[in-house]
């Protein structure tokens, strides 16, 4: 029943699309948070007194006058990781540097694991390329994840 229903709208992802999905999955592994800041949209009571909102939640009545204020640091040193990396690559283009230190691909063959249960897998989903190990895992995959979102 499952495969006959699918035959009506048969989509097979090509190599480029599969690689894009893999890259998205890898980027997801690097995230710190998967949900939004719970304090982001706090609606303050209109009549509440306005305090100076600082990051640690405390007010700072005694900001000492330093040679360079903290605002200076925030402006000067706020950069994203990728811009810092670019800067560094221009400063140190020759190895040994951050880029040359990255480990290279392994000489061993990749092991394939079923995306549903995690045990070793031998089969690949025809449409999207995900690995599975048995018919039951294939059906779970088709019902829940296969091509269920675009990327």
């Amino acid at each position: 029943m499952g495969s006959r229903v699918r035959a009506a709208s048969y989509v097979v992802l090509d190599e480029a699309a599969r690689r894009r999905r893999q890259r998205k999955a890898l980027e997801a592994l690097e995230l710190d948070n998967f949900h939004d800041d719970p304090h982001a949209n706090l609606v303050m009571h209109k009549k509440a007194p306005k305090f100076d909102e600082s990051l640690d939640g405390k007010t700072r009545p005694d900001r000492k006058r330093k040679a360079r204020s903290f605002e200076y640091f925030k402006q000067r040193f706020r950069k994203t990781f990728s811009s810092l990396l670019e800067e560094e690559q221009q400063l140190e283009p020759d190895p040994p540097n951050y880029t040359s230190a990255a480990a290279r691909p392994s000489a061993r063959p990749e092991r394939h694991l079923c995306a549903v249960c995690g045990f070793p897998s031998t089969y690949t989903c025809v449409q999207c390329g995900t690995r599975y190990c048995s018919a039951r895992c294939l059906h779970t995959h088709q019902d829940t994840r296969c091509l269920k979102w675009t990327s």
Partner: protein, 397 residues
Amino acid sequence: MTASGTLVLDNGASLLKAGLASHKDPLVMPNAIMKAKSERRRPFIGNQIDECRDASGLFYILGFQKGYLVNWDVQKTVWDHVFGKDCLGLNLSRLNVVVTEPFFNFRSVQEAMSEMMFEEYDVAGLLRANAGDLCVAAEPARPDNLCCLLVDAGYSFTHVVPYIQGKKRREAIRRIDVGGKVLTNHLKEIISYRQLHVMDETYVMNQLKEDCCFVSQDWRRDMKQAALPPADNPILRHYVLPDFTSLRRGYMKPRDPAAAPAAEGEQLIRLTNERFSVPELLFHPSDVGIQQMGIPEAIVEAVSACPPETWPHLYRNIRLVGGSSRFPGFRDRVYAEVRALAPDELPVKVTQPEDPVTCAWRAGAKLAGESRFSSRLVTRAQWEEHGFNICLDTFDV
């Protein structure tokens, strides 16, 4: 002005270890600002998280990205809390400071760190070093440790670093981009797909990973055993999730094939192959599609990049440090794989300090008491005269 003591600050991306060198143990706390959905009035900085009653759905704000310090707002807030009266209660202007940096730290981050320490915190003297350098320098010199191969398995990545006569060999350093963060995220993903949506529960899943996961000594055998029915399955365990009302911290139930798993009101996570397939990523990053070699292969590559006469010395002194090396079975697995890959005639020895997380801090504290310490510092007078260039000349980061 001469300093009256030394503060050792092992500034990690996940955990920060800080304390005066004269203290016995450091303060260990998350190097992050955390926000809880249950407590909307305030964020939690570092160890304030222990005061939080409901740590579900905890939102992390980290100063580090991919292992390097990019967000100084966050870092300064955490440091102010650590140095303030709630924690250490120190005035840095009378202290020397030893602070750690990742390997190949970016020049602008090094500048920012030096400026932050001297200009904002007014320190009397500064020593910036890689955490691994401290670990190696603190070992007393013996004939069998002329060279050392250090494996630092941290939160953001894992570095394999050969040290020849106490100095690291930069062209031989290898970095694997798998660390505690990737392991926890992978664990969250597979549990969310198979059982329960836990993508938001980094704090709880991290505890689960530390409680339940181990490194397999034989991947094929453990995979077969994890698939067996519950009565014969030595790997199957259930983990009780905290509900933050009666249970504040989750725990793993001991193996009991006979008993029914769930008691009254308990939320369980069933763990079979996840227990060892998650730490397996340190040995086979290709399991998740990261096209890099694992730790044992990286060790062999790092050693091969050094002069051949150092190879016996490196292989017989492999040290494992860092939080991600604390998985049970990690040391034995590294030994077995390196022994298989390394040349037969060379001896292989893999050791781990008693506490891999605080090893670098203890090394820094030990170094602060030695006579060679003062020659490695940059004093405030030197900074004022020469600026950042003196740091480039003095520090080997």
